[in-house]
Amino acid sequence: DVKVTQSSRYLVKRTGEKVFLECVQDMDHENMFWYRQDPGLGLRLIYFSYDVKMKEKGDIPEGYSVSREKKERFSLILESASTNQTSMYLCASSFRTGITEAFFGQGTRLTVV
């Protein structure tokens, strides 16, 4: 079975901290995605990557950056955490966008205080 693993299930950070959310997939998928999910807003795409060292901005990239140095790992970085970044963060991977299904991690619930 495909497995997408996010490094933390729950995380509490202070305003201004640099935060790293890690995601690892074990199926050699080309595409990896970071979404955030907020009540009433659904899933919004932050960044995605279709190859190592490649990245594309999604709908809400402000305040975030990403890193994909290895194919299996996609990191989301909050350069200076703010309270409005308190959210559920979901990582996903897929072999081909729209052609094959996406597999999701269990989510990281981040609280910024």
Partner: protein
Amino acid sequence: SQQGEEDPQALSIQGGENATMNCSYKTSINNLQWYRQNSGRGLVHLILIRSNEREKHSGRLRVTLDTSKKSSSLLITASRAADTASYFCATDANQAGTALIFGKGTTLSVSS
């Protein structure tokens, strides 16, 4: 910009009834997918329907796609309490190197 929009936002039914959720999207697509999310968890893929297909079945799930109306529906037959979850449609923008875009979801509650 979100590609898919689900309707209704929330749906409450009795066990044994059928549940129908709709999804509308804006631009041309390769395929449309439906996902399910249990409370506080990640999403799980349910079914993928290609743009040249009109209907697809998987167990108690039936998905239709009308590309002329840019809409899809998900029917869950003989619903159970375990079907209680949020359901999302997802589309791609029919361009290479694009991501899946999700709607806001329909929250389904099935009472036993």
